[in-house]
Amino acid sequence: MIHDHPRKAEAFTRDDERAHWHDKALWFVRVKRDRGAATVPEWEALRTAAEGIKVHTLSRLPDYLEEFERNATRNGIQVHWARDGAEHNRIVHGILERHGVTRMVKSKSMLTEECHLNPYLEGRGIEVVDTDLGERIVQLAGEPPSHIVMPAIHRKKEEIGELFHEKLGTPRGLSDPTVLTEKARQHLREKFLGAQAGLTGVNFAIAETGGFVVVTNEGNADMGTTLPPVHIASMGIEKIIPRLADMGVFTRLLARSATGQPVSSYTTHFHAPLPGGELHVVIVDNGRTEMLSEAHRRKALCCIRCGACLNTCPVYRRSGGYSYSYLIPGPIGSVLGPHRDLAAHASLPFASSLCGSCTDVCPVKVDLHHQLLLLRQEVGEEKLLPLPKRVGMKVAAWAMARPGVFRAGGRFARWVLRVAPFLARIGPGAIWTKGRELPQAPRESFADLYDQEMARKPEVRP
């Protein structure tokens, strides 16, 4: 398990050209995010407020969940509670069965991925069509999403053309995104018009008003909830915010952080079923309470799923979504996965350079790189590290506690780099120099320079 991420990443980086293409595509989104953030002078104050609202809400979560339920029920929404993914799936299936639904359209929901809803329903004779374009692409390909906002970011347009040819019967050789999107529009229109129920995720649920908000650019959640009479919305317990006014803070941050847009195309507020229809909300725990019970893990539940930490992460950009063992990739997934099951996701805290860029871009200030560091320590304490790494750490700790040994080691390393640099490319240390240019070894170390300087100016010596 500890080699999971590097092993899968190695497969991804074998295609050098594709790995660079992936890196650039995501950096492009990160740059757009920066431009979007720069248009808002009070950006940092908004981040602080968003963090504060989330932390406050989590500190009083049971009260807000009850308030939400009370108000939602008064609005004519049917509220269900699910302890885990299996119960969530049973509830959703029960609703669909009662209405005799055999065709359902679904807009993006990472929670239903977490619960494995699609295979559950398909096994019971219900056609589930993911309607977000990226989600539909990966669904047709039989893959999970590789990014939480852009599920098919790993696929090239030519491959999507080939996939559509195979699965949708479009002419061979299409690769123009406009043409491909048009084909998907026509294909999914049929699905929308034929669906008997629509399922959506929940971006924000508002305790004060008893309603919830779903955000999309494509309008797929809106197509899927204005035509069929039955709407089911799945939400994790952490999606609650106290007041409608709090939406003013989150809508200013979410799309700018995700794609750099000033806001998403559709920000839809559901506070009642369609006339004559039904609206169900399924509130899911599935391990969240456990995460909430420990102060240092609680912060990860503030995440609003914008994907900014993925786009900025040098490791995610260069290793792709499928190198991560948890269903949510990138820094936030590398925190959430190990918080759920440390042994199963032991490699993820190491899939980071700890540069801290994820923490800097996070709109709700989740302390991602600090959590990753803490998780590394937990992996060590649980003895989940492989032997060479454990021994290496012990040796390093021993040497670093002995200045003489440390300096001698430094001298030796600089001598190797000058005289026989090829030695750095072989042996167990070679993993550190793979794919990298070796540094020019300086004559003197920092400690040497410091000593010389201090010898010249003894008066400034601390």
């Binding site: 995104p177 197509m223 003013g248």
Partner: protein, 195 residues
Amino acid sequence: MNSRETILAALRATNTAPVPSPRHPTPVRQGDPVVRFLESVKVVGGQSYRVPDAAALAAAVASLPVWSSPRRASLVPDLPGGTVDLEAIVDPHELADLDVSAIPGELGVAENGAVWVKGETLRPHRAVFVIPEHLILVVRAQDIVNDMQEAYGRITLPRPGYGLFISGPSKTADIEQSLVIGAHGARSCAVFVVG
């Protein structure tokens, strides 16, 4: 215990110390909101127009090529010319071939070109904003606010309520980050500011 009680009891057992709710920051005002709004609509992929009054609105909409399509619906009181009687339609699926709808908005947001449309407007079929090929939104100049925080300060949701912000046409960038307008909803979005 049922699942509801189990979840709530487990949450209460975490004994999380209450943290006070923060204040929202006060946004910095950036220029004339109407001018900024018209600009923002273009940024999000729409077209924006300013007209002095209802008569000018009717004339301007009539001159839009999309308004010459056969199946048009107008929910804007001052805008005649609709050909589809929404009240006469029982099932929203019958709107599948709707070419264009014109819908009044309650608010326009300068920072992002979003228009707030309340549920009562979208009667009898909510789908009328997302199912047509093209969309026309109309908002009064005095109803343009600076930002989303100001907008939410003005929104009231009736019980039971529904409403949404629409910012430009439907779009996607899911194929190689190429922006394509017209994913599932409207392929174009013309926004008129009256006054």
